[in-house]
Structure formats: C-alpha cells, structure tokens
Symmetry: C2
Subunit: 349 residues, 2 copies
C-alpha cells in the first residue's frame, strides 16, 4: 500500500554511527536561546532561567506502537514528536527541545532513516523545537524510537494531575475516537491489500480519521487560549489512552470522583459514520480509543462563561466527591461506572 | 550460568502498565531540591536555578548491547545508569536526575523487572540521583532500556569536546581494556556452559575484568578532584568506545592532532595477563576495547605538576597541530597513525 518506491539503498553499516548522526542532524537548526549546546558532545546544555524545566519521555516500538506497512516513515517521525510534545503541553508548559534515540535493524537503508528524520524535522520546525541529542544504534529486530521532550514554564503556570476539586468542570479540546477508527480503516485496507495488491483503496470517507491516526497534532495552542480566556486549569492531562483512562488518572491523583455525560462527548461526523459501518459503539470508542492527543482539564465552575461556546473546547461533565466514583450518564439518563479500559501496551504482547 | 532460580513468576499483563509503574517506582525516593515533580504526571518538573542543565541519553538493546545469559538484570540496571551518568560527568557537571524507559517482551515476569530496577535503584542511591519519569511498554522481542540523564553545572565549569589546544596534555582516569576482556571471559564461559552445563567456572584470575564489565562505575569523583587540584580541562569526553575513538572526537571537534605514547597507557595486571592468554595485543585492547567509562581530558601544559603522580590520573600524550594527525608512539619509538576503530553499534547487526 504505502511502500518505499525509491530504489536507492545506502547501507547504514557503510556510513557508521557517527556518519549517520552527522548526516541526519545537519538539516536541523537551533532556534532557542536556551539551547546552548545541542548534538555533538557527551551531553546537551540548556541555559538556566527563572523558569522551571519540564521533561517527558516516550518509547515507540515497531509492531507494538506502529506498523510500517501503513505508517509512512515521515509520518512516524512527525507523530513520535507529537506524542512527546503533547505531554509537555499537558503541563501547561512550552516545549523547546527534544532528544531522539533510534534503533534500527539492518533491513533499513539510509533513505528510510532520512524519511523518518524528515518527519521529525518538520515537527521541530512547525512546533519550534530544537533537536539537542540522542543515540543511534542497531536493533536485532525492527525499529524503535525513544524521544525525550524538554519544556519550560513559569512555576505559577504549571498544571498537574492532582488539583481537581469537586464541582470543577471537566473540559476537553477537539474531538475523540478518530485516530482509533483511522487505525481500523488502515488495518482493513492492509488485509484487502494482502488479498488483492491491485485493489485501489477508496479512502475519501475516512480522510479525517486517517489524518488523525497518521499525522496527529499536539495542542500547542491551548496554553495561549487559556491565557487569553484568563482561565487556569486546576488539573490537566493529555488524552493518549482515551478519556476514561485519563479521567481515572486525574481522579486518583486528585482524590475525587467525576460525572461525565454521553451526549456531551465531541465526535466528528466521520467518527459517527465509521462507527456505524464497523458496528462499534461511538461512546466506547470516544472513551477508550486512544491516540487522540487532545487535552483534558478541569476548571473552577465560575469559569463556565469563559469556556462555553468556545469552538475549541467542550464541557463534558464535572468533578464530584471521591466516594461517588467515576460515572458516565448515558443519553437515556442511566448511570454507568467508568472503567479505565485504555489501551494497555503491556497486554498487547 | 547466571540464571534466575526464582520459581515465582508474576505476569506483567496481569499487573498492567500503571500497576507496573507504581510497583517499580515506590522504592525510589527524591533527594534533590531541584526535583519538584518526579514520576506520575505527564512530565517531570525541575526547578530553575542559576546553573545550566545538561542532558544526555542512551539506548541499550538486548542482543546488541547486552546478553542476559551472563549479565544479571540487577547489574544491567546499574550499568545502564552508569553509561548515562558518565556522559554527564564528562561535561564536568553533576548528575541529578534520570528518566528510564523500558520495553520488555512477555518472556519477562515481574520478578525480572524488579531485579532490573533494584540495580537502577542502587545506582540512584550510590550516585545521589532522582528517578523522575519514563515509559514502560511491551516489545516484540527481548528487552531494551532508554535512559536520559539530567545534570547541572555552573556555566564556567562546563567542559566541551572542542577546546583542546596544541601542547595541551592528554590525561585519562583509571585504566583501560578490562571491561572488554571481561566480556571475552564471559563469552568464553558461555560457550563452555553450552557444552557442559555442570562445569563450575574458575574466574578468580578475572575478577577485576568481570567487575569492570558487569558493574562499571562512572567517574563522579573527577569533577571534585579537578577542583581540588585547581585544574580546568580544556576538553573532556568519557571513554565508552575506546581511547582511539574518543581522541578522534576531541581532535575533530577541537581541530587539532595528538600524539600518545604506548608505554603510558594505564593497564591493570589482569589486563596484561588476559591479553597473553587470549593472544590479544594489549595496546589495541586499551585503545579500542570500549566500555571503560573512564574520562579522557586535556589540560594546559602548565598543569603538569598538579597532575603528575596523582594515582587517579595518567598523562598519556599531548595535543599537536591538526596537520600532524593522530599518532601513537610505540614502545620501539615508531609512529603509527591512530584509527577510530571504536565499537560501531551499527556494524554489529
């Protein structure tokens, strides 16, 4: 389906580790004053400031987190950066630097690595991020990527997971379930392709779903929006494993319960249509689909007027006392206990 | 040889990702004032200070960087931290925090992960390091570890790779080649074990070599020693790939050449004996063995009196003009061009 048609193959062994590092880093430039020393020494050096440093890290493994038969390498590079930036934005911080460690088996030629780094570079340019270091090595099987993102925030701006209070409103950005359904569409096309490689897929009805799966964007804009609205969240988390799983984290760490409303969950029309087609429950997909990389946060109830009607934000419920548990109120008015049935990486193997 | 005799096996899938994270992090405590928020949110938060932040990252993959048939998991955890701290110390900085990302296939039970983290914890306690985050996931094959280390330094104390000047002395800490030979001994024992599992290995003559391979120590002490001696290096690097490879980095980045002397290379008697036994050239092993995790640095020639005779330090040569190249002067007085024949991870696959 999505195959590398480029016949040119440069062996990585030929180039060597240092050659490869030089080759892939020469296209990256430094844009933050705080990046004093990037790639090329034992460690990178960041300038001190009166702000606080925020650090997050993620590991992506071929066959577990991505499938290169439908994930083009450039998209993988872009997405891998987004996954990490999303964590930094979920602290209400500004992301400034990343380190990228890469392991590849000898089935990958240089041209594949170039594609991957083209995606990383595009993400760095778009999100104003400096690549400051990493490690490059061989793997015995497949590709894996480990990215660490570093950000900055004023101490008073940082938002953690443990500050939600009863009566706080629960707010989400964007919409949910599309990335998960995008994956289902791509998986289906992969099966069709196996049976008939000549088949031309018609993906017109799934463009948004596929884009959300292959090229997610991290919500860099929300910190600014919240400042404009003069709202400071009491807690915040990025939605990588589905709303249920993230609410579970917020409620556990804040020692509270919550009530969310099925009819308030923001869904794109393509999500609703695809759920019908795949015979899936759209609420389950929105709550447990994962990979949306939207933000979920709580705000004091008196911020209601500032939040409501904003096209970027949806109020989906409110925080309750801890003994009330985590509840979903269905369209029919029924109370159902939420379960953290987020995507569990350790159960995939 | 070194096998887990513990019959207890707790499946990781049973525990789930969040259960596993809670389980392995509860034994770690925070010891730095600068660690404001460690594990448990989207990102860790470090306090601002007037110092500069130093960041380094390394990726270790089973079958490429380690072999669990003779590397006990606790040692692996310890060593993985050392590899990263060594990079921070090579900046003349103090290491303060690490993030640890781990991927494991389902062949590993919880008890194996506990062993690994016991080693990481021992390293953290011994070296005064806070574990502040990470990622835990499944792999399709084997184990891999990605560690990022974060340190602090005053701007004026930082030492890079690009400051070496002609006539500067080249100084190394400790001795060389032992870790490489330790690996050869362990590899040989593994082969013996395959043929006769009842064989009891006699490793008495190789204790230092094996310790250097399985439980290396990073040179945390050198920054303090240099302060005591009132010496500031003009350049510094940690020796992970062998002296030749590191000199190649220093000379390339500093735009200089160098001359080192075969008879000045510090070798432990066990290294000399094992080289005879394995019919290896001890100079080659010292120059290209790798995994010593000692420091190599350059100092102005007027620091000679402060360095000479110090039991931790050996002067092995001096920096020259770039057009002189990188030269080894043999015991017989012959000049041989050095080659960066360090361990190349990308050629292993």
């Amino acid at each position: 389906m999505l195959e590398d048609k480029n016949p040119q193959r440069t062996s990585l062994a030929e180039l060597g580790e240092f050659g490869l590092i030089n080759h892939i880093t020469k296209y990256f430039s430094i844009s933050h004053k705080s990046t004093l020393k990037g790639v090329g020494d034992d460690a990178a050096v960041l300038d001190a400031s009166t702000k606080q440093t925020v650090i997050s890290t993620d590991l992506l493994i071929e066959g577990v987190h991505f499938d290169l038969s439908y994930m083009p390498l450039k998209h993988l590079g872009y997405k891998a950066v987004m996954v990490n930036l999303s964590d930094i934005y979920a602290m209400n911080a500004t992301a400034e630097q990343i380190t990228v460690s890469l392991a590849v088996s000898n089935r990958f030629p240089l041209e594949a690595i170039e594609e991957l780094y083209a995606g990383i570079q595009l993400a760095c340019e778009t999100y104003h991020i400096d690549l400051i270091g990493g490690d490059t090595t061989s793997s015995t099987k497949g590709m894996l990527l480990s990215i660490t993102a570093i950000g900055k925030a004023n101490k008073e701006d940082l938002v953690f997971r443990d500050g939600a209070k009863p009566t706080d409103l629960i707010v989400v950005t964007g919409d949910f379930g599309a990335a998960y359904l995008g994956l289902q569409v791509l998986e289906r096309e992969k099966q069709v392709f196996k049976v008939n490689p000549q088949n031309q897929p018609d993906l017109e009805n799934y463009t948004y779903l596929i884009e959300r799966q292959l090229k997610p964007e991290a919500r860099k804009d929300i910190a600014d929006l919240l400042k404009e609205l003069d709202v400071k969240p009491t807690s915040m988390i990025d939605v990588s494993d589905g709303i249920s799983s993230e609410l579970f984290h917020i409620c556990t760490q804040s020692k509270v319960g919550c009530k969310i409303y099925e009819d308030k969950l923001p869904l794109d029309p393509q999500v609703i249509n695809a759920c019908e087609e795949f015979e899936l429950d759209s609420t389950t997909i929105a709550l447990s689909g994962g990979e949306d990389y939207e933000l979920l946060f709580t705000v004091p109830i008196d911020a209601y007027d500032k939040i409501k009607g904003n096209p970027n934000l949806s109020i989906i419920g409110h925080i309750t006392e801890q003994n009330q548990g985590l509840q979903l109120i269905t369209r029919g008015g029924q109370e159902i206990e939420l379960r953290a049935q987020g995507w569990n990486a350790l159960k995939e193997s």
